[in-house]
């Protein structure tokens, strides 16, 4: 789901004259993908899970290390992903916790609480 916006391409010098301004300018429709706190968090999560694609040698063999979002609700943690726990409810390690504390969503929440500042590093 992108945002469509119309931008002006490179205009020739004649197009910049008073009369023919914008006449020769090329109009292009460019799709700009949204960039929100959620999409950035999702990108980071997918980068950890799919791009890095970490595997480990365990006593059950060569297995993919699951990446979990550590900050979800309790009912979701317990009932949704049953594969990440054994029959006693213990987590099956190794496991990569997503950097939930560093996520933009959480940091934005902290801003709203006045606890810290949202810092975006490029």
């Amino acid at each position: 789901m992108g945002v469509k916006s119309v931008i002006l391409g490179a205009a020739s010098p004649s197009a910049l004259s008073a009369e023919g301004a914008l006449q020769d300018a090329e109009l292009k429709e460019v799709t700009i993908m949204p960039s929100t706190l959620e999409t950035i968090d999702r990108a980071l999560f997918e980068w950890l899970s799919e791009e890095l694609d970490i595997f480990a040698t365990t006593n059950k063999g060569w297995k993919k290390v699951p990446v979990i979002w550590a900050g979800s609700e309790r009912s979701h943690q317990i009932k949704k992903d049953k594969d990440i726990r054994d029959s006693s409810g213990l987590l099956k390690l190794p496991m990569v916790p997503s950097p939930e504390n560093q996520s933009l969503k959480i940091q934005a929440l902290r801003v709203s609480l006045g606890l810290t500042f949202l810092i975006i590093r490029i």
Binding site: E38, D41, R42, F45, W69, G71, S72, E73, R74, S75, H76, Q77, I78, K79, K80, K105, L113, G114, L115
Partner: protein, 162 residues
């Protein structure tokens, strides 16, 4: 009639700690909790299949729950306390501990206590945050006596069972 002695295929159960004794303990505890103590909570199991969780964050604004169940249990009221949040000012917290009779729940009411479910005690909704099973019956590993649920008050934005 043969006078030959046959060895049983399996060893006999413990002499005084078998099924009959466990059933007696269950019956006594049922009566104690329901007819003497008489405390009840309403249990709201969150329906994981019908609740629309966010695909990344695992959070749901609207939670769907299975039909609520009235449960007799021993409830330890731990009061309402004032808490100060730096940026927001005064807040209130409340917590309870619920001691469920495990066999009554699982065998008679077909109810399984899980973290993240909600209970109504009085007029406050609580969320189950941790569970423990601190006692075995007669030291038998397959027979746990109780389930203790530590619960904290749920904000209105988290759950509304009305």
């Amino acid at each position: 009639m043969s006078n030959e002695w046959n060895q049983p295929s399996a060893p006999p159960p413990p002499l005084f700690l078998g099924k009959k004794e466990r059933d007696l303990v269950k019956q006594v505890n049922d009566e104690l909790i329901e007819r003497v103590v008489g405390q009840t909570v309403v249990y709201y199991p969150v329906d994981i299949s019908a609740t629309n969780y966010h695909s990344l964050y695992g959070e749901a604004i609207e939670k769907t729950f299975l039909p609520p169940i009235r449960v007799y249990a021993l409830v330890s009221w731990e009061g309402i306390q004032t808490k100060n949040i730096d940026a927001l000012g005064l807040d209130k917290t409340s917590s309870i501990s619920i001691h469920f009779h495990k066999r009554r729940l699982t065998e008679d009411q077909d109810l399984y206590v899980r973290e993240g479910d909600f209970v109504l005690y009085g007029d406050i909704y609580y969320e189950v945050v941790s569970l423990s099973e601190p006692q075995q019956l007669f030291g038998q590993t397959d027979h746990k006596m109780e389930i203790t649920a530590k619960c904290i008050a749920a904000r209105e934005g988290l759950f509304d069972g009305s």
